[in-house]
């Protein structure tokens, strides 16, 4: 299955930089050497095996933008699954950015009416004052500019984990039946006595799915957790933070994207000595964890707080679950 992803925004806003970070494992420090993109650079990124992301990195210089909106209009905007529009947080010419944005939105509505739209307020690292309020203001402005088109806004920077958060959320919407994966990860977490299980895509280390928050040991909550894992109640598993289960662990809210960032950095260090990162196991004061290959295209991180569980046991569990997840993943993508 193929998904066309449009990457648009003004020249210099950082589109090619983020592509090279997420998909080519290049460090942020090297992005300053990138030249402006000429016309459109198309990339086919194999994501989860059979799902292919067809990335259209559209050079943002005015002449190119004008041509996307006129002669190339149908080529660019048809069959789009996702449009990601990148705004520099401190843009030199916001009115112009917005004019192009509205035109692109119109074209997208005409040619791909059911495409989802993500707006990235990028280079947040350059904001001097309060990043939170600045982002809120931008979010409100951009939502107003978007009229009745539903848009999701993220603040991002190539220098921290925010980019992984945004892209994980974006690819999550592309994966069919991600909820089924969540359900099985939740069951798997229970089998491992894990607090949490996270599934990552192999090359990008973007988060594909996570287990639902575990139930507290109280017996009243037990029924609820079992109910959620009952087969047949497919795709109804709650992943939203509004879960009725009380969160007793209060894990760091940025842990998913930080994990992506950390592992990508470690992978990069390994590649610098011509080694390839393969697996990681940790027994830290705070928790025990194993990060290992789950399927051909995914990695799994199992986080356990129970001190009696050993990493060797977790590794055996992963080995046992591999086959099942390989099938699941194929099902979920071809579905």
């Amino acid at each position: 299955m193929k998904k066309k992803v449009l990457l648009m925004g003004a020249s210099g806003s950082g589109k090619t930089s983020m592509r090279s970070l997420i998909f080519s494992n290049n460090p942020a420090s090297l992005t300053s050497r990138l030249g402006a993109t000429i016309d459109v650079e198309q990339n086919h990124v194999r994501f989860l095996g059979d799902l292919i992301l067809n990335l259209w990195d559209c050079g943002g210089q005015d002449s190119f933008m004008d041509s996307y909106l006129s002669t190339q209009r149908s080529t660019i905007f048809q069959h789009v699954g996702v449009m990601i529009y990148v705004f520099e947080v401190e843009s030199r010419d916001m009115p112009k950015d917005l004019t192009y944005y509205r035109d692109c939105l119109d074209a997208l509505r005409k040619y791909s009416s059911d495409a989802s739209v993500f707006l990235l307020v990028h280079k947040m690292d350059l904001v001097k004052g309060d990043k939170g309020t600045q982002l809120e203001r931008k979010r409100r402005d951009l939502q107003a500019e978007s009229g009745d088109v539903e848009v999701t806004v993220f603040g991002t920077s190539i220098y921290d984990e925010s980019l992984y958060k945004a892209w994980s959320r974006i690819v999550h919407t592309i994966i069919p039946n991600a909820a089924v994966l969540t359900k099985h990860l939740t069951t798997f977490a229970e089998a491992c006595s894990a607090t949490e299980v996270i599934l990552f895509e192999r090359t990008t280390f973007l988060v594909i799915a996570t287990s639902s928050p575990p139930a507290p040991p109280a017996s009243s909550q037990r029924a609820l957790a079992n109910g959620a894992a009952t087969p047949g109640s497919s795709s109804t598993v709650v992943t939203a933070p509004t879960s009725p289960v009380e969160d007793v662990h209060k894990l760091n809210a940025t842990r998913y994207e930080r994990t992506s960032e950390l592992i990508k950095a470690l992978k990069h260090s390994c590649s610098r000595v011509r080694e390839e990162f393969y697996a990681l196991e940790m027994e830290l004061p705070e928790f025990t964890a194993v990060l290992d290959e789950m399927t051909k295209n995914t990695y799994v991180l199992i986080v356990v707080h129970d001190p009696t569980i050993e990493t060797a046991a977790l590794k055996i569990n992963i080995r046992t679950a591999r086959q099942k997840f390989e099938e699941l993943q194929n099902d979920s993508i071809s579905a």
Binding site: S29, Y159, T195, E196, V248, H249, K250, L251, N252, T254, R255, R258, T259, L262, I263, A265, L266, S269, C270, R272, V273, E275, E276, F277, Y278, A279, L280, E281, M282, E283, L284, P285, E286, F287, A289, E293, V303, H305, D306, P307
Partner: protein
């Protein structure tokens, strides 16, 4: 006088090994100190204020350190201490700056120090080197090195024996860690014993390379006798950084504390905690690959060792045994260091 619980009473002043950080204004002294010892990220050093008075920072690793970060214009008179109080003097030279003034000032300090204590370690950090290409970097480095030696011998031929060490550094890569590690090694009296322990560990565990790292600063305090490959060093450095960052991410407010509780309960009070964090990263999928292991040794130190994945998987028991043996050795050495420093106060 009893020092049995010396570690738990920071009010008792141990005798610290003193390091003096000198250099021109904006050469990068505070940046180096902050990046290594205060977890400041290299990019954040951009916002550091100029240093206006001497700042003394303490840091506890295998030996207790006291680092004096000076303003750019400090002189022998305004230093407020004798140069012989310091075990090491580090002079930072900005590779992108002109060299004449800094070299002249540096030699004034070095000559004064050398005359007071000929055994003092004199270290030159040619800093901010990341800005240049490799070739140009090396060329400048050689040029500065030659110039320093020429000027020194111009002053007097007597200084030919002066033990100068040159390092090429930057806070933006691993070079500052590697260079400062080497600076540190010269200050650790027990280094040969630590190295012996590492050599024994490597031989018994079939490890090709092992480092004893200070976890927080990511400086290595000792390594085995095999040569240090920069790439391997950098990977170890990054690995420690990764593990440091992981802990807080999945810390559970309800369950993490219980893990430690269990461990302190299960161990007898005299033997210390029985739980030591450990980790292993495996490189390349097959057993042909390499595994990099991490074992906590003391609250500050961790052992990192490279070995074949096959060895790691098949001889795990032996490895853990060797680690226990190694840990006991290091703890003994640390205790001797500690006692010696406490003892010297009594005198």
């Amino acid at each position: 006088m009893q020092h049995s619980n010396g570690t738990k009473s920071p009010t008792i002043d141990v005798q610290r090994t003193k390091i003096l950080l000198l250099g021109q204004r904006r050469s990068g002294k505070t940046s180096i100190q902050q990046v290594l010892f205060n977890d400041v990220s290299p990019k954040q050093t951009f916002y550091l204020e100029p240093t206006t008075r001497i700042v003394k920072d303490t840091y506890d690793t295998v030996i207790p350190l006291e680092i004096w970060d000076c303003p750019g214009n400090v002189t022998l008179d305004t230093l407020g201490a004798s140069l012989s109080d310091f075990s090491s003097i580090i002079f930072v030279i900005d590779i992108q700056d002109s060299y004449q003034q800094p070299v002249a000032r540096m030699l004034d300090f070095f000559i004064a120090a050398y005359q007071e204590s000929p055994d003092i370690c004199l270290e030159v950090l040619v800093h901010k080197a990341e800005a240049f290409t490799d070739d140009y970097k090396i060329e400048n480095f050689r040029h500065i090195q030659q110039r320093v030696i020429d000027e020194l011998l111009d002053i007097s031929q007597d200084y030919e024996q002066m033990p100068l060490n040159f390092h090429l550094t930057s806070v933006y890569d691993h070079s500052i860690h590697e260079a400062f590690s080497r600076v540190l090694h010269k200050l650790i009296d027990s280094l040969p014993y630590l190295e012996d322990l590492l050599n024994v560990f490597c031989a018994n565990s079939q490890s090709s390379k092992a480092f004893l790292f200070d976890v927080k600063s990511r400086l290595y305090v000792a390594t085995d006798a095999s040569p240090v490959d920069t790439g391997t060093h950098n990977l170890c450095c990054d690995y420690v950084k990764t593990l440091n960052a992981f802990g807080p991410l999945y810390k559970s407010s309800s369950s993490s504390a219980a893990r430690l509780l269990r461990d302190s309960r299960s161990s007898s009070p005299s033997s210390g905690p029985s739980f030591y964090p450990s980790a292993a990263v495996t490189l390349a999928p097959s057993t042909q690959g390499t595994t990099l292991t991490y074992h906590s040794i003391t609250p500050q130190l961790a052992l990192l060792a490279l070995m074949h994945t096959a060895v790691f998987e098949e001889q795990r028991g032996l490895l853990e045994y060797n680690v226990v043996f190694f840990r006991e050795g290091v703890q003994e050495i640390s205790q001797v260091e500690k006692d010696a420093r406490m003892g010297s106060l009594v005198v």
